[in-house]
C-alpha cells in the first residue's frame, strides 16, 4: 500500500477501515465456501431429479425435485402476479402522476415503508386472511402472499429506472398524439426495458429465497403440485425442515439443498445482468 498517513489517528482508522472492508469480503467467502464444502459432497443427480421416496426424511432415497419445482412455480407465479400489479403502478407514477411531485413522493414513502415490513408479518397476515375465508394452504395462497411481499420491492426498483426518463420524452410522445397509456407502455416501457427486467428478476430472487412468508401459506408436500389449490414444497422450507432433523444424512441433504438454492439465486442475478445489457439496444442515452 502506498498511502502515507498524515497522522497516527488517520493511520489507525485507515487500518480499521481496511479491515472492515476485508471482513465483509471474508464473510461472503465464508458463507459460500462453508455451504459448498458441506453441500457439494451430498449433492447428487438423484437429489435434484427425484421427489422424496418413502422414508426420505429418515435418510432413504429420493430427492428434492418437489421443492425445486415448487419454488420455481411459487416464485414464478408470485413474480408474474407482482408484475401485473407493479408494472402498471410504476408506470402510472412516472407517466400519469409525474407532475404531481408531492403525491408521487408520498407514494414512494409508503412503498419504502412497505418494503421494510418483515416477511413474517406478511405470512401471518396471509394466514389470517386464509383462515377467515376458509382457504387451505396452497400454491395459490403462497403466490398471493409472496406477491404482496415483493410488489413494493419491484415497484421501487422499476421506479428508479423510470424516474430518470427526461420530461421531454413524455412531451414528445404526447405531442405525437399518443394517449397516456401508449406513452407508458410503448415509449417509457421500451426506454426502461433494461431496468424493468432487472427489477423483475431481482423480485424473483427475493421471492424464491423467502421462507417466513410461505411457512403458513404454501404448506409443504412431497409431491409436485399439479394445480394452484394444492400445497407445495419450497426450497427454503426444505432446507429449514431437513436441517432440524436429528439424522445426519437428512442434514447433509439440507446443505445440498442450500447449494441448489444459492445456485438458482446466482443464476438469476447473472441473468439479470445479461438481460439488462441485452435490452439496452433501443434505449436512448439522454
Amino acid at each position: 500500500m502506498k498511502w502515507k498517513p498524515k497522522n497516527a489517528e488517520e493511520g489507525f482508522f485507515r487500518v480499521l477501515m481496511f479491515f472492515s472492508t476485508v471482513i465483509i469480503v471474508v464473510a461472503l467467502l465464508m458463507i459460500i465456501i462453508s455451504i459448498l464444502y458441506k453441500g457439494l459432497p451430498a449433492l447428487s443427480w438423484a437429489m435434484i431429479s427425484q421427489v422424496p421416496a418413502g422414508g426420505f426424511y429418515f435418510g432413504r432415497e429420493g430427492g428434492i425435485l418437489n421443492a425445486i419445482v415448487g419454488s420455481l412455480y411459487l416464485a414464478g407465479g408470485a413474480t408474474l402476479l407482482a408484475t401485473l400489479i407493479g408494472l402498471p403502478l410504476a408506470l402510472y407514477i412516472n407517466v400519469h402522476l409525474v407532475c404531481h411531485k408531492r403525491l408521487v413522493n408520498g407514494i414512494r414513502f409508503v412503498l419504502d415503508l412497505l418494503w421494510g415490513i418483515p416477511s413474517i408479518v406478511y405470512g401471518a397476515f396471509g394466514f389470517a386472511i386464509m383462515s377467515y375465508f376458509g382457504i387451505r394452504v396452497s400454491l395459490l395462497a403462497g403466490i398471493i402472499t409472496v406477491a404482496l411481499l415483493i410488489v413494493p420491492i419491484m415497484v421501487r426498483a422499476m421506479d428508479e429506472a423510470l424516474k430518470v426518463v427526461p420530461h421531454g420524452l413524455l412531451e414528445s410522445s404526447l405531442s405525437l398524439g399518443s394517449t397516456r397509456a401508449e406513452t407508458a407502455y410503448r415509449v417509457f416501457f421500451r426506454q426502461c426495458l433494461p431496468g424493468l427486467s432487472t427489477a423483475v428478476l431481482l423480485s424473483f430472487g427475493r421471492a424464491i429465497g423467502d421462507a417466513a412468508s410461505i411457512l403458513f401459506t404454501a404448506g409443504f408436500t412431497d409431491y409436485i403440485p399439479t394445480s394452484l389449490n394444492q400445497p407445495t414444497a419450497t426450497l427454503p422450507l426444505a432446507i429449514f425442515f431437513q436441517l432440524s432433523s436429528p439424522i445426519p444424512q437428512v442434514q447433509e441433504r439440507a446443505y445440498a439443498s442450500a447449494v441448489v438454492l444459492v445456485f438458482i439465486i446466482l443464476v438469476v442475478s447473472i441473468l439479470a445482468r445479461i438481460m439488462s445489457n441485452r435490452y439496452q439496444k433501443n434505449k436512448i442515452n439522454f
Binding site: 497522522n7 472492515s20 469480503v25 464473510a27 402498471p88 402510472y92 409508503v110 394466514f127 389470517a128 432446507i239
Partner: protein, 308 residues
C-alpha cells in the same frame, strides 16, 4: 369548415380510447391496492388479535413474563427482550463495520476495490435468509461454542443471542451499506473542497465535515438496519436457541418475536387465544418496524432536502 368542427365532438378511435381508459383504471386500482396494503395489514392483524386484547391489557401482555398458552397466560416480555437483545447486539456489530467501510469506499478506495465490493455487496444482499441460517449453524454456532465461549469461560452449545446477532449483523450490513454509500455520495463535493481549501487535512475533513453532514442519514440508516434486524425470522430462528426465558447475556439462548410466530403459528389453532396472541406478536412487530421505518425515512428525506 369552422361550423362543422364545432358541431361534432371529435374523439380518437374508440379502440384506443377504451384501451387508454382501461389501462388508466387498472393502474389506479393497483395504486389503491398497494396504498391500502398497510391499512389492510393493520386491520387484519388487529381484528385477529382483538380477542386477546379484550381480556388482557396491552401493557400487561407486554410486561408479563409468563408464557403458558395452555392455561391462557400470554406474557410477551421474554420475547420482546430477546428481540431487543439480538437487534441491538447485531447493530453494535454491524454499525462500525458499515461506517468504516463506507468511508473507505467513498473517500479512499481505488477503483478496483469498488469494482470488487459492488458485486460483493449485491450478492450478500441477495442471499436468502435461510442460507444465512445454514451458515450460522455451520460456522457461527460452532465458533461460539468452541472458541468464543471458552475464552469467556463458558460451556455453551453456541445457540445463543450472540449467534443470532452475528448472523443478523452480516445480513444487515449490505442493507445499511447501500444506504450509507448513497448518503455519502449525495454530499456535494464543494463541501469537502471548501474544507480542504481552508487548510484542513483529508482526515479532518472527513471527521469534522462529512460525518457531521451525514449524521442524520447515518442515524437513519442504522434505524432502518435495526428494523430490518428486528423483523428477520428464519435465520435468527435457526441459531438463537428458542428458549422461553428472559435472557441476561449474549451467551444465553433467546426467543425473539418473529421466531415465536414462525415456530408456533398454524399448529396451535385449537387454542383460540393462542392464535390471537401470535397475531398480536405479529402486530407488535409490524407497528414497531413501521414506526422505526417511518422515523428513519423522514430523517433521510429531511436531510436530502437540506442538501438540495
Amino acid at each position: 369548415m369552422v361550423n362543422k368542427t364545432l358541431q361534432r365532438v371529435r374523439r380518437i378511435r374508440p379502440g384506443r380510447l377504451l384501451q387508454d381508459t382501461l389501462h388508466g383504471l387498472w393502474m389506479r386500482l393497483t395504486l389503491a391496492l398497494v396504498m391500502l396494503l398497510p391499512v389492510l395489514l393493520f386491520a387484519g392483524m388487529y381484528y385477529k388479535s382483538s380477542m386477546l386484547l379484550q381480556t388482557n391489557s396491552l401493557l400487561e401482555l407486554i410486561f408479563s413474563g409468563e408464557w403458558k398458552p395452555m392455561s391462557g397466560k400470554f406474557g410477551f416480555y421474554p420475547f420482546i427482550i430477546s428481540s431487543l437483545w439480538v437487534t441491538v447486539v447485531a447493530l453494535l456489530l454491524a454499525a462500525p463495520i458499515c461506517l468504516l467501510t463506507t468511508i473507505h469506499l467513498t473517500q479512499y478506495a481505488r477503483r478496483w476495490v469498488l469494482r470488487v465490493m459492488h458485486p460483493v455487496i449485491d450478492i450478500l444482499a441477495g442471499i436468502p435468509s435461510v442460507i444465512y441460517g445454514v451458515f450460522g449453524i455451520l460456522v457461527v454456532v460452532p465458533a461460539i461454542a468452541d472458541y468464543i465461549g471458552p475464552v469467556f469461560g463458558k460451556q455453551i452449545s453456541g445457540y445463543s443471542i450472540l449467534a443470532g446477532a452475528v448472523v443478523l449483523a452480516i445480513m444487515i450490513i449490505p442493507f445499511i451499506l447501500n444506504i450509507l454509500i448513497e448518503i455519502f455520495k449525495n454530499i456535494p463535493d464543494e463541501l469537502a473542497e471548501a474544507s480542504l481549501a481552508l487548510g484542513a487535512t483529508k482526515w479532518q475533513t472527513i471527521k469534522l465535515v462529512l460525518i457531521k453532514k451525514a449524521l442524520p442519514g447515518i442515524i437513519a440508516a442504522f434505524g432502518l438496519g435495526m428494523s430490518r434486524a428486528f423483523g428477520e425470522t428464519i435465520a435468527v430462528l435457526m441459531v438463537v436457541g428458542n428458549v422461553t426465558r428472559v435472557p441476561t447475556g449474549i451467551f444465553q439462548p433467546g426467543y425473539p418475536l418473529p421466531a415465536l410466530i414462525a415456530n408456533n403459528y398454524g399448529e396451535m389453532l385449537s387454542i383460540p387465544l393462542y392464535d390471537s396472541a401470535l397475531m398480536l406478536a405479529a402486530l407488535i412487530l409490524f407497528v414497531v418496524v413501521l414506526l422505526f421505518n417511518f422515523a428513519s425515512r423522514l430523517i433521510i428525506i429531511q436531510s436530502e432536502k437540506r442538501v438540495a
